[in-house]
Symmetry: C2
Subunit: 187 residues, 2 copies
DNA sequence: GTCTATAGGGCGATAGAC
DNA sequence: GTCTATCGCCCTATAGAC
């Protein structure tokens, strides 16, 4: 792995662990094993590096989710697979945590990939729910977009509650609760 | 309002806006109108000041929620009042955002009020749901604790999605979705 | 490409005058 | 109680040698 690559990967890790405000160029250099000169040769500065890192993290999450959404099984089964996938719960969502970061939200460029990721995820889940409703798998009264938004929110909030409690079990409880509500709407 | 009070209130605001990592003693002093000496006279340092601020924010949220939980109406009505209460959505949850902060979670003292707040909130909602189930207001198959956790998570995640989208409407959608799932479980 | 040196400013805290 | 002065260190970035 070349230095440029190591810089991006180290930035992804640090953004995940400490957020944008909590991540310094110095820390990135130390973790990546690259020096000042190397970093500023490949990137203009902290924000440009962060942009590359955030974009890559969002793309990763999108690919993983899409693989589950387009996999085998009924709609409810596919959503269950997605919701119950093994996660690094106590580290939180690598993209979601950036939405809390004031300096990320204040910069239109940095914010764009975050906004797009959640827009895509919610929309894709809404499509699935709609498909499940059309197939008679789900309650006809169910609102696909609102339900999709609630499911994504339950995941993101699950991360927060798990971190607050210091236990991944709370995340699992949130998913259980959301799925419990959804699946009693199966027909 | 004396200086000590202003220091605590300014810290609450800054923690809400920028988190612990993003809040400096200097910024607190500027916002409160207190100088270095004043701040370090009343508090040992940044973390002690944050502790006072976090505790107060958690107490506030608890009191507001309890007023709604113990108000008039059926269980579903009271939960709806709580979920739909007017909020500063784009600013996020003053306590929930701290769960993302690495330096808060790393300090047992700072983390305690965050953990306790969410423990209380989830437990209290679970009691309500249990009450509603006993009264025949909700589906007998509903798991009170898991559902309560999912509802709190939907709120916390709603804040995140709204910030990511730059619009409070997304928060409302998440609440709609959660309530939609819950209320079709009414009997 | 990568390194070291350096810069100007902020960080979190302490000291001591008033 | 509150102020100003000062500290040692880190922040983000630039310059220029190799």
């Amino acid at each position: 792995m070349d230095k440029r690559e190591r810089l991006i990967e180290s930035t992804r890790e640090l953004l995940w662990e400490r957020g944008y405000v909590g991540t310094s160029p110095k820390a990135i250099q130390e973790r990546s094993g690259a020096g000042q000169g190397s970093m500023y040769h490949h990137f203009q500065g902290k924000s440009e590096l962060a942009l590359a890192a955030i974009g890559r993290s969002a793309d990763d999450l999108r690919a993983k989710a899409e693989a589950e959404f387009s996999g085998p099984g009924s709609v409810v089964e596919r959503i269950t697979v997605y919701l119950r996938r093994e996660r690094d719960v106590l580290k939180g969502c690598p993209v979601g945590r950036l939405a809390q970061d004031p300096d990320v939200m204040a910069d239109a460029e940095l914010r764009k990939p975050v906004e797009e990721y959640f827009g895509w995820l919610t929309g894709r889940l809404a499509e699935l729910l709609d498909e499940g409703r059309a197939a008679g798998e789900l309650d006809q009264a169910l609102d696909p977009l609102a339900t999709a938004t609630a499911l994504v929110a339950a995941l993101q909030g699950g991360y927060i509650l798990a971190r607050a409690a210091g236990s991944p079990d709370v995340f699992a409880k949130a998913v259980d609760g959301a799925l419990g509500l959804l699946t009693t709407k199966e027909t």
